[in-house]
């Protein structure tokens, strides 16, 4: 600065410069204000949206499918999270050096991987591998290849495998029910994933939850009445019996008569629900609910107990038979001439002639009503999808021939569920109960139990049925050491397109134990056993004995046939109950 004499020398700057600068500032200010107005007012909505785009994220909240459990809480169907690897093909191809390692982690060859990526280059989404175990998925991500992402998916596992496959059913790869209860209760089991709006910071951490929250609807758990140990037992025995007898198929159904709850519903052939590739259509049907059969001789106890209950007959009454008799054009035949028979003997020897006499004496209406009361042709309440009602024609269509054949179980069709339900009434002192497969949910929708027999009639019938299993009966091989067993055999010829087929049979046995107060009712059916013996007593009864023996032990049912195996211990040893 010079404050000397040259002060005067300096000419004052022209005024216009100051004005110019000031004007410039003014223009700047106006531009800034305009820009601010533009951003804050005009473009505000657009910019806010852009900001949200960079920081606001919708994250999905997964909701798993409900678990299907057995009565003890053991899982029968369970969803476990898996990771599916997907790719943006173009992005992956930009890092060719990672391909080899990536292919190895994906368990594919490099050539295959490259080919797939090239083929779908134009796409933005390509599944490389679905439903990997989480650990394997992490290994894939560790390769750090560009354009590779994970997607959480649930995979359904079936711990009981083929043993309970038809009842539990299965889902498809997208987690929706396909078969069995998985299909029937799909809406109940299925979970609806929810979503949450969050603010994420630059490095992807969630820093704020916004109020916008769409809660996930978790799937409900379904608890069955099935006992998986008994289910497994039943499956194992029916499987080996079908193979041993070279049969077309078979099933075992077990029922707790006091509650109407099904404890096991097993059939063979089956399928492995954990392996979709192996499924054969014939194994998928739940035969016990969807297949109808002629009950054959297994209806005799139902007919005779109705005859006793109505007071028309007494157990001491004797019916004269001579091994055959004619009803119209029909000849009713017995295996052998049993002469004078009482009810005990009709059941013990499974006399068609005896049963037909009783049926004709009762009359068509009462025979029909008797079966109807036992729930034939009616829903069982199991609620199983595709359950059939069977066929029980109205009695006014029956003449003497139909009445006679109906008396020994021909000319009608029932499901295994209907048949075991009727036997449940004999076991439970005359109370016919709705069958149950699922616990809890919808329990009040079941109709209340109905009395179909007087308690003493049911007890008498159980006692008579013990004769079937006695050494003189048709089902000696159904006997279980230590227990009193009541049951009935049945052998039905299968009806084909050209009437009955002489060589195709269904062998049946329905029984209960202990006879005094049955803890279990079990039905065994073998479809077309091809070995020489096809009678229910020869084929189905041994399966019954094997399954029941193990099941009664599982349930810790004390033996009721004292003297055979029981001894009273003076002091309790280490065996405690």
């Amino acid at each position: 600065m010079s404050r000397r004499s040259d002060n005067t020398k300096l000419t004052a700057p022209p005024r216009w410069r100051a004005h110019f600068v000031l004007g410039l500032f003014g223009v700047f200010a106006v531009v800034l204000a305009a820009r601010a107005f533009d951003l804050q007012v005009l473009d505000q909505a657009f910019l806010a949206k852009e900001g949200d785009k960079r920081h606001l994220r919708t994250v999905s909240v997964p909701a798993g499918r409900g678990v299907i459990k057995d009565r003890n809480g053991e899982p029968l169907a369970l969803s476990a999270p898996t990771e599916s690897v997907w790719a943006v093909p173009g992005a992956v191809l930009e890092a060719p050096e990672k391909l080899a390692l990536l292919a190895r982690q994906l368990n594919m060859s490099v050539a295959d991987l490259r080919k797939r990526l090239e083929n779908y280059k134009s796409r933005q989404f390509l599944y490389l591998r679905r439903q990997l175990a989480p650990a394997d998925a992490r290994a894939v991500m560790a390769v750090d290849a560009p354009g590779i992402f994970l997607q959480r998916e649930y995979k359904r596992y079936y711990p009981a495998g083929e043993a309970a496959a038809q009842i539990v059913g299965m889902t498809n790869i997208d987690g929706r029910g396909q078969e069995g209860l998985e299909l029937d209760r799909d809406a109940y089991l299925h979970g609806e994933p929810g979503s949450r709006r969050v603010v994420k910071d630059r490095v992807g951490r969630v820093v704020e939850d916004l109020a916008e929250f769409n809660p996930p609807q978790a799937g409900h758990d379904l608890r069955l009445t099935i006992d998986s140990r008994m289910q497994y037992l039943a499956y194992r025995h029916i499987k080996s019996a079908v193979i041993k007898n070279d049969a077309k198929g078979g099933m075992v159904v077990m029922l707790d008569p006091a509650t109407g709850e099904l404890r096991a519903v097993a059939s063979y052939p089956s399928f492995n629900p954990n392996d979709r590739g192996s499924i054969d259509a014939s194994g998928v049907r739940a035969r016990a609910a969807t297949d109808v059969m002629e009950p054959g001789s297994t209806v005799k106890p139902l007919l005779l107990s109705q005859a006793l209950d109505s007071g028309l007959y007494d157990t001491d009454d004797v019916i004269h038979t001579k091994g055959w008799f004619m009803v119209g054009r029909l000849t009713v035949k017995d295996f052998r001439n049993y002469g004078d028979v009482d009810f005990a003997k009709i059941l013990q020897k499974s006399s068609n002639v005896g049963a037909a006499h009783v049926g004709l004496e009762m009359g068509s209406e009462n025979v029909w009503k008797g079966y109807k009361e036992f729930g034939f042709g009616d829903i069982t309440g199991s609620g199983f999808p595709g359950e059939r009602f069977g066929v029980l024609n109205d009695f006014y269509e029956w003449n003497k021939v139909e009445t006679a054949t109906a008396s020994y179980g021909y000319g009608m069709a029932v499901t295994a569920f209907q048949l075991i339900r009727a036997y449940g009434a004999i076991a439970d002192d005359g109370m016919l109960r709705s069958l149950r497969l699922v616990q809890g949910d919808g329990a009040n929708m079941h109709s209340p139990p109905e009395r179909v027999l007087k308690p003493e009639t049911a007890r008498t019938m159980r006692h008579l049925l013990e004769g079937v299993v006695s050494p003189a009966g048709t089902a000696t091989r159904a006997a279980i050491p230590g227990y009193r067993v009541a049951g009935k055999t049945g052998t039905a010829r299968k009806a084909g397109s050209g009437g009955y087929n002489e060589n195709r049979h269904q062998a049946l046995f329905v029984g209960m134990a202990p006879a005094e107060k049955p803890a279990l009712v079990t039905l065994v059916m073998l479809d077309e056993p091809k070995k020489d013996a096809y009678y229910g007593g020869a084929v189905a009864a041994p399966v019954f004995a094997a399954v029941m023996r193990d099941a009664l032990r599982l349930l810790r049912v004390p033996p009721d046939n004292p003297g055979v195996l029981t001894a009273s211990a003076g002091e309790s040893s280490g065996t405690g109950t």
């Binding site: 798993g64 369970l78 910071d201 140990r229 040893s573």
Partner: protein, 89 residues
């Protein structure tokens, strides 16, 4: 006049303090939201593990396997003839 100035000064100060407090509270929320998210991830991880453990358990406890171990490794047999002792308790 001074009184008015004092009021303005106090209020300005209060505004400043509350502004800082707002920033701090916001920061705290974000920290806690992050923590919550971590817990959610943890829960997710645990439920994954739980499902896998259940599966593992049911694989080990599969009746087929149990029967095999009992027969082969432990040489157990099913009793054919047995006596039931009733304990008096």
């Amino acid at each position: 006049m001074t009184r008015q100035l004092l009021t303005i000064a106090t209020l300005s100060l209060a505004i400043l303090v509350s502004a800082v407090a707002v920033v701090q509270a916001k920061h705290k929320t974000r920290e806690m939201a992050h923590e919550l998210q971590l817990e959610r991830v943890e829960r997710d991880k645990l439920s994954t593990e739980w499902a896998q453990l259940q599966l593992e358990e049911s694989a080990w406890a599969n009746p087929d396997r149990v029967a095999q171990v009992a027969r082969r490794e432990l040489s157990m047999v099913q009793p054919r003839n047995y006596v039931v002792l009733e304990s008096q308790r």
